[in-house]
Symmetry: C2
Subunit: 410 residues, 2 copies
């Protein structure tokens, strides 16, 4: 099986490195494509490999499989499409492309008798996709809860240990964990793309990318970790999707996670996926979700799968209605200029939306004019809670907009 | 694809139940075999299913796949062999059979153009085998550490919370977690069979069952959990195998596990597998390892894999030398009739084998004539340690034989 690598960055060169080291049976690296290819040529790559900056040359070549590691929708999408139409199988780690166009690209592959594998698109080195496809095909998965973005997990687990957001973000950028513009990560778009892919495979539900609401982790403050701990919890960026009779609830954003839940155990850039099946109960996968080598392992595993003539179990997904609503307890953190009657006003706004207060936490030692306290409420839909908070959005005693976070169960 | 179930116990009836509920595409249950079949017939099974107590009838039937859930080496092994030779694929959860004869049965399957799948043989509802086969084929796995026996994990995690061994074992038997004769579980034979299978798939190493040493959990006492906690650890039955240049080290038995390690997080009957790869780092799988439904999920997943024409990645294993030696820190718990000079004598015995003492722990509040204390030693081979302990085996001050446990790293 002749393999061409499209995109010779961190992951692409890790793939080449592993192929050279392990020399898996029946797999030969024949082409490497990149822009400005001259600056990429590495002496450790076998001399038989052809270096090129022409995609058309790859397409005309006798390569059987194209490994697409360029990323993004364009031109990667066009290239993947053309490769499949030219009768070449494609292995990709492009979550954005697979989230947005995976279903149609699967069809193109099927129509041309070739394969499209994307184990590297979600949680890199953790075999979640093969685990779900092959290993849990016999269950009916009803829920996914994942820590799918290593950058956010690094930031939040460092904040849990007392560091401040801005400082940690700077460290993450220095360490190469975060981009110069961290929007994709911290605002949840990266995790959302992965949740869309997992929902397709595990819940067999086709979700439109834009239909899943995301919330940023940027509003999380040190004080939230203090109160979270009082509640026996910590805070993680969670991507959650749940099957209902009439569709799927899905959302991505910071949530309170009980310290007893495996989701609280992931530290640094680790990823974790927890799936719940009707028959098999909860299954947890965790490990390194990103980085050159772990992601390359997923790519090479897909190549070996193809070389062995092993075909993934391909179960059809169906388009479903998506809502962002989960009936969950919520954490609401207020920062107020202290005055009498504040709690009464909040309680009134919540009561108007039929939301019951669960508990109120107020730690001593803060300034009266920027006083943080927390109210937790019994399970309710986020939309009702937001309506309640809208009622008090203009209250003079608010020192800043309240922060509300869903609270996951054990 | 026509499916016959061989053995209609807990798992067999769960498999039938899931097949009836989910009705996976292209899979039809056609036969159910059991001894004394009359008492097994269930009215919720479709009336088209043929109930039989004749294995030969199954063999002559048009069933494409036999699901073997009888367990044990004989007659299950003969039946699996004959089914494969008759051109029928086999899906089995029989860890004992696959550990002892998996390699030759794989060859029989290959020779007859059929398939042998056994995802249910290790950690039931957790897709470890497909995860390793398909998802981590592109890595070089160097180490496996697993909690592979739910009974032991139930016992030890209950003891961690303060319960006594005998009491917990009785509860486990009452709950159906442990057999009347718990030897297979508590002495490590069940976990060993699973470790043999995982080593074959992940390390590509063919280990002889008897070559892997096992130690029983029955000597663990409440006081060991107290001292383990002082050391930032707990105790679990661990099945461990590690690749070396000249072979594999493998062992099964109770070990100290740091509270920071994921292995300490598994509670009750949960299973967990931690694999370490040269490129992808650590990956953790956890979930329900046993029970009718979780095990049946693995069986049905294998059936769906076959029905979709998906073939598992099949990488050859090679026979290797096995040793039980790991260079690990060790925990040694003594119970002594207190007298001067005991520590000097122990230190002398250890020094004679060039083993360095790391620390000594002695909690107050115990009787002088049955005084428990703990010595930890720097990394050494278990065999050296046992030689050292042999030197003092007949000391008059020993109230009981010392207990030594390996200590896993973070």
């Amino acid at each position: 099986m002749k393999v061409a690598i499209l995109g010779f960055g961190t992951v692409g060169s890790s793939v080449a490195r592993i192929l050279c080291d392990l020399q898996p049976e029946n797999i030969r690296l024949t082409h490497i494509f990149n822009r400005d290819i001259a600056r990429k040529i590495a002496e450790w790559v076998p001399s038989t490999v052809i270096w090129t900056e022409s995609f058309d040359e790859l397409l005309r070549s006798d390569a059987d499989v194209i490994v697409e590691l360029v990323g993004g929708l364009d031109p990667a999408g066009t290239w993947v499409h053309r490769a499949l139409e030219a009768g070449k199988s494609v292995v990709t780690g492009n979550k954005k492309l697979i989230a947005a166009h995976g279903i149609e690209l699967d069809e193109v592959a099927r129509a041309h008798g070739v394969h499209l594998l994307y184990g590297a698109a979600v949680a890199g080195g953790i075999p979640v996709i093969p685990g779900l496809r092959q290993g849990l095909a016999g269950d009916r998965i009803t829920r996914i809860e994942g820590i799918l973005n290593g950058t956010c997990n690094y930031i939040l687990s460092r904040m849990e240990d007392g560091a401040a957001f801005a400082e940690v973000l700077k460290d993450a950028q220095k360490l190469g964990y975060a981009e110069g513009d961290p929007t994709e990560d911290v605002d949840g778009y990266d995790a959302r793309a992965k949740l869309i892919i997992l929902s397709r495979i595990a819940l067999r539900a086709g979700l439109q990318v834009e239909s899943v609401a995301t919330r940023s982790i940027t509003r999380i403050d040190a004080v939230d970790f203090v109160y979270a701990r009082d509640l026996g919890c910590t805070i993680r960026q969670i991507a959650k999707a749940e099957l209902h009779n009439d569709g799927v609830s899905a959302a991505v954003g910071p949530m309170l996670v009980p310290l007893r839940s495996p989701l609280s155990w992931s530290r640094s850039t680790e990823n974790m996926v927890l799936v719940s099946g009707q028959y098999g109960g909860d299954v947890v996968f965790s490990g390194h979700g990103a980085g050159g080598h772990p992601t390359a392992v997923a790519v090479v595993s897909d190549l070996i799968t193809l070389a062995h003539g092993s075909r993934p179990v391909d179960l059809a997904s169906r388009a479903v209605q998506v809502s962002g609503e989960f009936q969950l307890r919520h954490y609401i953190r207020f920062v107020v200029k202290d005055a009498p009657g504040i709690v009464a006003e909040i309680a009134g706004a919540l009561a108007a939306e039929k939301i019951n207060i669960d508990a109120l936490f107020q730690r001593p030692g803060y300034q009266k004019d920027r006083l943080p306290f927390v109210i937790t409420v019994e399970p309710c839909a986020a939309s009702s809670l937001h309506r309640a908070l809208d009622r008090i959005a203009h209250a003079a005693w608010l020192a800043q907009r309240p922060l509300d976070l869903p609270m996951l169960g054990d």
